[in-house]
Amino acid sequence: MKSKKPGKNPKKKMTRREFLRVGARAGLALGAAGVAGGAFLRGRQTADLRWQLDPDKCIQCGRCATHCVLTPSAVKAVHAYDVCGYCELCSGYFKPNALLLDTAAENRLCPVSAIKRTFVEDPYYQYTIDTDLCIGCGKCVKGCQSFGNGSLFLQAMHDRCVNCNECAIARACPARAWTRLPASAPYMLKGKSRGSGDAKK
């Protein structure tokens, strides 16, 4: 309130309003820079982060299929072949009460026939997932996890994931299995692949 009356010498010096404006501008600039700089310095995260789920925490509740913003979900079942037992009676492929161990739909767990069963040699079969068909429901994962080696597991596919700021599946995940990983290593894999594409926080 002490400064000069406005309009006393408006041409030479800045008016009170101008002075306040410049001061506020400097203050706001410092404030914005401080908030953003402080937030960055807390973590010093230069790489971008991507959403991924930890297969060891996953309980196959089925929400990956239903809660993703994409239809079908960006989460797909993947198969670590080096963990697989190549079982003839695959608990991830057949329903528990399967009448026959064949490829008939009524005997299979997968609701969309996304798992291909191919004969390798007696008594071994290879199971391959067709990612384009898979909807990420996790039924095969649950079967494999319960009675098999756990070689089938769910992962968010990063060619599909749109990397929402708040992942809708992560929000709904009852096992809190979702984390953000650096974009350079955005998977949590099983078997030998663990460590190559995998970066645990």
Binding site: R17, A32, F40, R42, D82, L89, F147, N165, A183, K190
Partner: protein, 436 residues
């Protein structure tokens, strides 16, 4: 067939003897044929470079928009750039990350030590803020895809009564305060969850959000940019910065002749008519305005204290919004009633093997944040209302028609309303030398 029996045996053994480690159940077979085990292939994530390209595109677009709005003064060019921005940031990049949502990432990084905000997200938060300090809200003009899509439907803009606009103008600050509070307390990213247009950008299927977008766009035909003006939390930040910007869009390219032709040109009611007196005052005695100003300044701490008390009253409501708290309450209720796993959430919680202690720790953190945060939120709302009142108490100083810097989104619709602009454009067509 042997293997089938082995499986049955193993299942029985597991049922009897507890859980074996999943990966040991079946040894890897030794194949007699020359079968080669395939390796697991997963697609790479898009390179981080693209995030910085996006940041570069954002900076270039904001600077280009500023140059167009302030120097070139072409509504058509603003329109073209806003369409380009809508296509790129909306439909190609599908809406994430955006500066509005980045508020939450920055908040989370400050509140939660385990979360690190990526550099590009900090950049997305900061670039429009910095640009606004220099040029006003040119980001809102159409670089923001949410602004661009709403600007497309502004067909018959009506004027909002001033008191209604003033009251609704507080809502973005409320939204900002709530978003920061909920992010810090771990309740979630509300700005992203209730982003009206992201479902359009992604061709998504959440009906309630699509309906929300439809309602906003429908209202937007008559009330220009309803999300920008009465909801957007980032717009709230930008409106504060824009008040003090170094430069700003002007209605007239040279000097206002007070012809009043621009009065109805603004779709967002951001044109201020000249204040009464010749020197810019309202003509009332100086003592009266000083006294009104003093009262308004003294109201600031009073309203903040009242707001803090009011915010504290809302604490219980905020606590109940937390999904962790809801889960804990459901677990306690089931324990009391003796009905375990009655609800899906509690059944899945037990299945996940998470301990109630870990849940309780998270709930405690949420409650601790909300205990202080709800009062701070209330005080913030009090401050916003007090500053709005202070703004009304300060006599306007403009002597001609000027844009209201806080509300103006630099859309450029007023340019052609100004006769001086037509003089300028004619001067450009017939070069100034030919007039001599």
């Amino acid at each position: 067939m042997k293997r089938r029996y082995a499986v049955t045996l193993l299942v029985l053994a597991l049922a009897a003897g507890g859980v074996a480690h999943a990966q040991d159940r079946f040894p890897r077979p030794e194949f007699k044929s020359d079968y080669a085990t395939p390796t697991l292939q997963v697609p790479n994530a898009p390179d981080s470079v693209y995030e910085f390209i996006d940041l570069g595109v954002l900076a270039a677009a904001v600077i280009a928009m500023s140059a167009i709005a302030l120097k070139l003064r072409s509504r058509n060019a603003i329109f073209v750039l806003s369409i380009a921005s809508l296509v790129y940031f909306g439909f190609i990049r599908r809406g994430c990350i955006c500066p509005i949502g980045a508020i939450q990432n920055v908040t989370l990084a400050l509140a939660d030590p385990t979360y690190a905000v990526p550099l590009s997200v900090v950049g997305f938060f900061l670039v429009p803020l910095a640009a606004t300090l220099f040029f006003g809200r040119t980001f809102c003009a159409g670089v923001c895809p949410l602004g661009a899509i709403q600007d497309l439907v502004v067909l018959k803009p009506i004027k909002i009564p001033k008191p209604a606009a003033a009251v609704l103008g507080v809502v973005p600050f409320l939204y900002l305060g709530l978003a920061v509070l909920f992010t810090a307390a771990g309740i979630g990213f509300v700005i992203c969850r209730f982003d009206p247009f992201v479902e359009i950008f992604r061709f998504g299927s959440r009906l309630e959000i699509l309906a929300y977008a439809g309602v906003l766009l429908g209202i937007g035909v008559f009330v220009a940019r309803p999300y920008c003006r009465f909801l957007c939390p980032y717009g709230a930040l930008l409106s504060v910065l824009s008040r003090f910007s170094r430069r700003h869009v002007t209605i007239s390219p040279t000097e206002c002749v007070e012809c009043r032709l621009c009065e109805d040109a603004c779709p967002v009611d951001a044109i201020l008519p000249p204040a009464g007196g010749a020197a810019g005052g309202t003509g009332e005695p100086r003592r009266a305005s000083v006294r009104r100003l003093t009262v308004s300044v003294l109201l600031i701490p009073l309203l903040m204290a009242a707001g803090a008390a009011g915010g504290k009253l809302l604490e219980g409501f905020f606590v109940r919004l937390s999904p962790d708290v809801a889960l804990q309450t459901a677990l306690a209720a089931e324990k009391a009633a003796g009905t375990a796993d009655a609800a899906e959430e509690t059944r899945l919680f037990r299945e996940s093997g998470e301990t109630e202690a870990a849940l309780a720790a998270r709930v405690d953190r949420t409650k601790a944040v909300l205990s202080i945060g709800s009062a701070l939120f209330g005080a913030f709302v009090g401050l916003v209302i007090a500053l709005k009142l202070l703004g009304l108490a300060v006599p306007p100083a403009n002597t001609s028609y000027v844009p209201d810097r806080a509300a103006c989104v630099s859309c450029g619709r007023c340019f052609r309303a100004c006769p001086q602009e037509h003089v300028r454009l004619r001067g450009r067509i017939n070069s100034p030398t030919s007039l001599e």
